[in-house]
Symmetry: C2
Subunit: 418 residues, 2 copies
Amino acid sequence: MSILIKDVQLEGDVTQIYIEGNRIAEIGKRREADTVLDGKGRIALPGLVNLHTHAAMSLFRGYGDDMDLSTWLETRIWPAEARLTPDDVYWGTKLACLEMIKSGTTTFNDMYFHEDQAAKAAKEMGLRAFLAEGIVDLNDPERAAKQLRAADEANRKIESLRTDRINGVLGPHAIYTVSKDSLLRIRELADKTGSLIHIHLSETKREVDDCLVENGMRPARYLDSIGFLAKDVIAAHGCWLDAGEIEVLAHTGTMVAHCPVSNMKLATGQAMAYVAMKEMGLVMGLGTDGAASNNNLDMFETMKVAALLQKHAHGDPKVLPAREAFELATLGGARALGVDAGIIGVGRLADLILIDPRRAEFTPRHDDVSNWVYSAHGNIVDTLICDGQVLMRGRRVKGEAEILEKAAAVARDLVSRA
Amino acid sequence: MSILIKDVQLEGDVTQIYIEGNRIAEIGKRREADTVLDGKGRIALPGLVNLHTHAAMSLFRGYGDDMDLSTWLETRIWPAEARLTPDDVYWGTKLACLEMIKSGTTTFNDMYFHEDQAAKAAKEMGLRAFLAEGIVDLNDPERAAKQLRAADEANRKIESLRTDRINGVLGPHAIYTVSKDSLLRIRELADKTGSLIHIHLSETKREVDDCLVENGMRPARYLDSIGFLAKDVIAAHGCWLDAGEIEVLAHTGTMVAHCPVSNMKLATGQAMAYVAMKEMGLVMGLGTDGAASNNNLDMFETMKVAALLQKHAHGDPKVLPAREAFELATLGGARALGVDAGIIGVGRLADLILIDPRRAEFTPRHDDVSNWVYSAHGNIVDTLICDGQVLMRGRRVKGEAEILEKAAAVARDLVSRA
């Protein structure tokens, strides 16, 4: 199967993009193709990569905002999650994929429960997904054994759905919910299988303080002390990492997902030390976190808020300029996940979007990068191609009405059971 | 002229909204009307009020981001503004009005140059506008006399265009650009004419420090010491106001426009003390600031970022909940400007919008207010009515293509002259 995108704007020029199978085969020449998309007036950009989310939590969008983290978890999220069914995760992930497609995301890095259902949903929707069954043992050996078995089972099911797009990942939730023994077991598994590891790290000051009390060292140093950190680990949040810990991440090759919207909404209290991480050469990307703490999956908004938060936190408007925010959301995330995308180039995976700049908030066009980072939202995306498949064209996605209806019904039912 | 909005959702119920002239005449009953809008599946909300902007600066969108404030002003904005023509302001304001209509704003409070042209643009576009010719005398008595004459002339021209929607306002730029004599003259004029006053106040630490050096007191205290503050003053930004100054604002009835996106983008360094202001009962609203430092005029985004910034700054996720953010952006701004809108009620001005919740980022609907503050952007607005006139229906605005084309051409020409 082949696609030709005719007369599209790419980095300032008007050109032709020819896709064969799941890769970009040629740029510049018009060729015959099975599908021809008219790119006139549109701009081609790499698809966005959401490096940290809990897709199915879109079912909890708006279910308990403006609350203390502990009250929110204890009175809203945990009681509802205790009743979560595989079908809930399936429809919640379908809804999240729909929202991601509509706002330009082609790849997401997910952690949640019943992830085989998330895999099924992502496979059907056509997105590139990295899926980690969340492991939470609360230092209980029995629970640890059960959770590791469940994760293993989920990963085997994900493996059975495996394509170039669907990948299993190991998902220890965080140091305060997973025992040292389980972390070591997960480290071994990653070494054996080559899986990535996705973990929350240093999101709150409480996590840091508790780790200091329990282990006499800060979270990243603790993980390093047990040999957990390596270049296959993606650490989400990192708000409270200090300079010494950032050095540890750099030396071990640990990667970071910055989640500015969720961090601000939950008032984690401190912005991730982006400048220090950049200076140490960390591989970084951006994540929305789940829609329950954001409350959307719009990576255009996340790019802008990342730039705003970092400028504000550093007291310097030059920090995290538009081009860097865009690269974090594309190439940064792609590098973290080992996906050969994040830029549009011959031989790269065909994960790309066409945006439509003919609108007020995109006028004038003094600086396109600035416009798409600071002025735009996800609704500027007109067409989305992932892995060489057209998933949206003229903002139409197959099955949209059914997904909205089913997800709404499932969400209503889920919270009524809680 | 009359409008019936049929079967629309209003605060959870499905109802009918009947508009006669420029006011809401009845809610609940189906009536015959000149225009019937089908509100089925849509939610009616009050139109948003942008309490601080420089509309025509949309021509500078993306023209110098990620720069030091002084470098940006000196190398980009001021050279270009020195060449600004009345026609530039006309097309810049048309573009801004188009963007505001498309994102749900019915009223804006503006400060810029050639404001009679802004008045003409706003009048044609149908928005409710409060327009202040910016006064900058730089302590030069000759310039002061000239600027006050220009402001007076602009206001007379605005007066000649006056309708219920188009209002002249006095616009001393800030304490560091306007002499004490001019401030006193403006205070007198306001007392005489009943005009509102729109001023920047305590945006940067530099302004505070310079005021301490020059006047031995902080900016709000300085303004109070010369008798400038009163319940007709709208102060924009207020990032560096301290507790004593907030008391002064409360006692004088001074109102505040919070501009979180611009403050973060320009790294003004400190978030406005929202909680203290709320406790003192200040009338407050939200502003986008100009598109050159935002870079859009989307009040939905501004509501969300206001909530995010205040939660972050106070280290408390309960601060500035969704309902409050929404009220700041509607009733708060309307109260500040003395506009009888900001809520939908019988007898109120017919300034309202219909939003379309049938989309992924609005599903599920556990909490509508949360969805429109935290999940939505301006593109959810389907229909906009201002002063009893339908300005947008099905996202179509009259003259859109011409405005985009002309504004883009004018912007290109403007920066090429600079």
